[in-house]
Amino acid sequence: MNELLQTYPEEVKQILAKYPAEYKRSAVMPLLYLAQRKEGYVPRQALEDIAEILEITPTEVASIVGFYTLYYDQPAGRYRIQVCTDLPCALRGADRFLEELCQRLGIREGETTPDGLFTVEAVKCLAACHRAPVFQVQGDGEIEYHENQTVELTLAWMEQVREKVRAEKEAQS
């Protein structure tokens, strides 16, 4: 039973349609994004599912997860706050921004807030050098940019997310 295929039959079909049938291995990257959508990381079972769909080995699928930085094999915070600290951003105060943000949250770079919602990480260039400090947020299967940031702006946005998550939980219970 292929869980990925069962959960996302339409999406899998659409992804496969982009590539020639004899080269369906091309679909491995979009399928990994699909597998990562719910949990924020690629569960082991998904490696098998994708391998089966594409007729390659689970090891080959795992090698893609290992090579590319936007795939994860371990769970982390629901939202990954990824701050660019490359040269152009660093010249505009990105290091200080990251340091202060971590300080205010009481965590170190790479760690997750106690509520499990946010992981703060340093990443490489995001193509937003003119609007530093900048971070992207990876979570809920989406990626969103936050540019021209200050620590205050970021903390205010995090509070909004916490509110949203609280409201979601209340609606569920």
């Binding site: 994004y33 590319y68 505009r92 290091d95 490489k124 193509a127 609007r131």
Partner: protein
């Protein structure tokens, strides 16, 4: 006349809407190309325009197209939207705000080499942009501007987006193709070049976003019109990405051959608090660093030849400015760390070399290095140079060699711990 041929959305509101784009002459060039021109005529027109690849290499676009053999089919066109060089953010603006001009350009390129399928490979971080593009593509199909029998001719084309997942190396065209095939993004040994053996082993054109966005105006107005901009050997307009220690960082569309001084001072508003420019990296983290010891360096025109003549390269024109407060040892350590992280691991000089350069550079920044480490760092860089499979490894040593060569005193101060360890605005 208008100031822009690429960033036209800055003058025309809502140019990312199809009706607005059509109202401003959108898809006229494509219509002319598909209904009135032979593919070879399109190639010749682009050759005559002198357009050079905007992804960094500056290779003549029409010439690149002409390398595709006509006895192997199908042909593919791949748009390189993997924009990842630190200091580069121009393709993103086109993709976000003038997407139809890119799509029209991609369609013109596809017709020129008679490809019926084109892919747009976007860096994974451009997730939102990819979704917007998918909508634009669907809109074009619905409007009959993309799909089967374009403008009543026999020519058909499909365009698909494909998201990468965070690997700088995938901007290198053969690594990009490997990635698009569902493999690790590791460069291929060349030759054969993608023009002969590209995507799925078929003849393939890989062109940068900005390159493609140049095509509609060129085909609409002709090669001679295009040559009115820029210099004889570097014709046309270019988007310069200005970042670092400047008052107004951003994208500036200017003719090739504009001077550093005009970009930094007239457009970029100069340096904060009137400080002096110490160094320029004109091609992002991959640059050979230009030391601005002598103010007249700023009068160098930014075209491929002139920047090469002062020992650097124009690349994708991602101009990072460092002012006089910047410790160049710190700056170099930052670029080295980038390349160490992004090395794909395929060839030994790059995989091991960037690792060791990073180790030495970080040791320096941690205050645990000695003077001999400066020489060691330089030696490792010299050992890497000229031995790598692709440009990533070669570029990783540029800042190290030119940094130590021109700013050795900063490195010596750093190991003596008299220079500031970090830098910010």
């Amino acid at each position: 006349m208008s100031q822009y041929i690429l960033l036209r959305h800055r003058e025309i509101p809502n140019l990312d809407q199809l009706d607005v784009y059509l109202k401003h002459g959108g898809f006229e060039a494509l219509k002319k190309v598909v209904t009135q021109m032979q593919p070879a005529d399109v190639v010749n027109e682009v050759k005559a325009s002198g357009l050079r690849g905007r992804g960094g290499a500056g290779f003549p676009t029409g010439v690149k197209w002409s390398f595709l053999p006509n006895n192997i089919w199908p042909h593919y066109v791949v748009c390189n939207a993997d924009e990842s060089e630190p200091g580069t953010f121009k393709d993103r603006e086109i993709l976000e705000s003038n997407p139809f001009q890119l799509l029209e350009g991609l369609m013109i390129a596809s017709y020129a080499v008679q490809a019926n399928v084109a892919y747009i490979y976007l860096r994974g971080e451009f997730w939102q942009i990819a979704h917007q593009l998918d909508e634009k593509i669907a809109e074009l199909e619905k409007a009959g501007l993309l799909g089967d029998n374009l403008f009543g001719t026999a020519y058909s084309l499909r365009i698909y987006t494909h998201l990468g997942a965070g690997a700088y190396i995938c901007g290198e065209e053969t690594a990009l193709l490997e990635s698009l095939e569902g493999k690790l993004g590791q460069p291929r040994l060349r030759p054969p070049f993608p023009a002969v053996y590209g995507l799925y082993g078929k003849p393939t054109v890989v062109n940068n976003v900005e390159t493609l966005a140049n095509l509609p105006p060129i085909l609409e107005n002709g090669a001679q019109w295009y040559r009115r901009f820029g210099t004889e050997k570097s014709p046309g307009m270019k988007i310069f990405c200005l970042s670092g220690n400047v008052n107004r960082p951003g994208n500036y569309e200017l003719p090739l051959g504009t001077t550093f001084r005009e970009l930094i001072y007239t457009h970029g508003g100069g340096i904060p608090e009137g400080r002096k420019v110490k160094a320029i990296l004109p091609a992002g983290a991959s640059s050979a660093i230009i030391a601005v010891n002598d103010d007249t360096i700023l009068d160098t025109p930014m075209d491929y030849e002139s920047v090469a003549a002062i020992g650097s390269q124009l690349g994708s024109a991602s101009v990072i400015v460092a002012d006089e407060t910047v410790n160049m040892a710190w700056l170099v350590a930052r670029t080295v760390n980038f390349f160490k992280h992004e090395s794909c691991g395929k060839c030994t000089p790059c995989r091991e070399g960037t690792f060791w350069m990073n180790r030495i550079a970080q040791r320096m920044m941690a205050g645990k290095a000695t003077e001999s480490d400066v020489d060691l760092l330089e030696t490792v860089a010299n050992q890497i140079a000229g031995k790598c499979l692709c440009a990533l490894g070669e570029f990783s040593v540029m800042a190290v060699q030119t940094g130590i060569g021109q700013f050795r005193v900063d490195f010596l101060n750093q190991v003596k711990q008299t220079a500031p360890a970090t830098q910010g605005d």
